[in-house]
Symmetry: C2
Subunit: 145 residues, 2 copies
DNA sequence: CTTTATTGGTTACAAATGTAACTGTTGATT
DNA sequence: AATCAACAGTTACATTTGTAACCAATAAAG
């Protein structure tokens, strides 16, 4: 079709990555969306708070590499759903310390288990060494340090 | 933080895939967005038409695993920008045969080259065998056949 | 001090997306 | 032929996202 030597889009890494990511995310999303009515960013905030404990929105934003408005909205929604609480830091009243409620912690425990299970169903189809390499490569794509 | 053994979100495959995909897509997007004002789906349609020649919207939709409304919108926009033309198939007037205009072909040639280059800058940081494995795994995640 | 720049977080608006209902056309069933 | 289901593509509406301007609080510079 082109006068050039064709480069196959089906081999293009950003394309493959996108499709794979979309596929997995949708699969897993069905779990937390149906059970807790959560959005992707919401569940990520929960995950970060669950894992690292008390954080500010900015911390989460940096760790999750997600824009602060997205985090802001997710935090509001999670607060409304009573999954987290926030209190202004008395030492710097710009910041807010976020933490999971009891309810939020339960959700985290459940989702974290679901994530582990889902991760296994994926990785089970490959050799351990392959999976390790995959993770390593993905990390290096994310942070080309 | 949790009473359970922690599963690290930073190791969760859907999460890693998402971040890697987002990173690469944004990088590459800056090229076609700035130069041609295209959106992701638009450039994918161009790529498919450039590679496979004449197709219907449905064909593209299936190949690209993208919802038909998204394709429909992209096609409209590409037509408006004079990158493709469509004509109703006389044998089945429901379908429309899409094909790139001369202008669209030029864009394809350019983007295809850019994609190849970008793909190289990524893959150059890994061994060939590693890249091959990465692609293989991604494909199998996309199509768990 | 007081002005100025920076920071954490929010809001407002535009642009993009998902979902479902819709149109027109073909194919199948009777 | 007449009815009904299926299909390609579009449209309309609600939800989600990106962008940039914004507010309040702090930090830095004069």
């Amino acid at each position: 079709m082109s006068k050039n030597v064709d480069f196959d889009i089906a081999e293009f890494l950003p394309y493959l990555l996108n499709q794979a990511a979309e596929q997995c995310s949708l699969d897993f999303q069905s779990y937390y969306k149906e059970k807790y009515g959560m959005l992707r960013t919401e569940w990520r905030v929960v995950f970060h708070l669950g894992k690292y404990g008390l954080m500010t929105a900015r911390d989460v934003s940096l760790k999750a590499k997600t824009h602060k408005t997205k985090i802001s909205r997710a935090v509001h929604e999670l607060e409304r759903k009573d999954f987290l609480v926030r209190e202004t830091d008395p030492n710097d009243r710009r910041q807010e310390r976020l933490s999971l409620t009891t309810r939020g912690k339960k959700v985290y425990d459940d989702l974290q288990r679901a994530a582990r299970d889902y991760d296994r169903t994926i990785t089970d189809t490959f050799k351990d060494s392959e999976v390790a390499l995959l993770r390593k490569m993905l990390k290096s794509l994310i942070d080309p340090a």
